[in-house]
Subunit: 134 residues, 2 copies
Amino acid sequence: MSKRAPRPAPRRDTAQRRALRAAIEQADRPLSPGELLGAAQRDVPGLGLATVYRTVRALVEEGWLAEVALPGSPSRYEQAGKHHHHHFRCTLCDRVFEVDGCPPDLRALLPRGFRLESHDITLTGRCASCARRG
Amino acid sequence: MSKRAPRPAPRRDTAQRRALRAAIEQADRPLSPGELLGAAQRDVPGLGLATVYRTVRALVEEGWLAEVALPGSPSRYEQAGKHHHHHFRCTLCDRVFEVDGCPPDLRALLPRGFRLESHDITLTGRCASCARRG
DNA sequence: ATCGTTGCAAATGGTTTGCAGCTTA
DNA sequence: TAAGCTGCAAACCATTTGCAACGAT
């Protein structure tokens, strides 16, 4: 039998990874790679975008981070393991926020014979601060 | 006052555009640029991908075509003007299908102060033919 | 001293644009 | 003919990868 992917190589504890984990833990919303870069560069000024992508990928594989894929906008990332929820994207500031709750009966929308595995709901509009200003 | 975008330049009726419109009209589901290229090349073998993108954009601006943006997958395109609906993407064949209906009360999910402008729901799983086969 | 990790730059994949020639009107 | 179109190749943007230097263990 073929060998299973043996478990991602052991990880080292570097300043870059510590800074990225901290940025995610301190964020109150999912962050894009660019936002992560900016936040983590406060701790590690030389940090490069490639490292952000590599670390994000490693943290996702590790199960610590979750990708938030959005229609027509680059993915954001948030800590994994939260309860089921969806997202809101502000058309003005382009920030993404978590929203609680989920409509029931989504399975009822399915055409006959289709098998539902998951679903994504993205609300779009103005976040509270942008609604106030504009 | 500044001049409004004056209405997209007049359009010419070319074989490429006829082929693309026909492909969209005959499709029973939203198509990706690649799918459109394949379909339209049956009529216009020399058709290039750049022309597909340019034409798609023109048809969208014209209001005849609608973009179907999806989380983590390139956009598909469908005729505009259909009644409100959402989409299903098959994880096996990667085709996208229209699904009717829409859960009520989405506004109830909004955090306080947020203003809702639109929403997208993407269901994911196996389409009928892929569910059967696998 | 290893060997994973990093930054930089080059490579991707999907999409857009510049340009010279072609075509519609 | 003139302007809009088209195909091709180069440019773009977000993301990934090759590689030599770096640094955690």
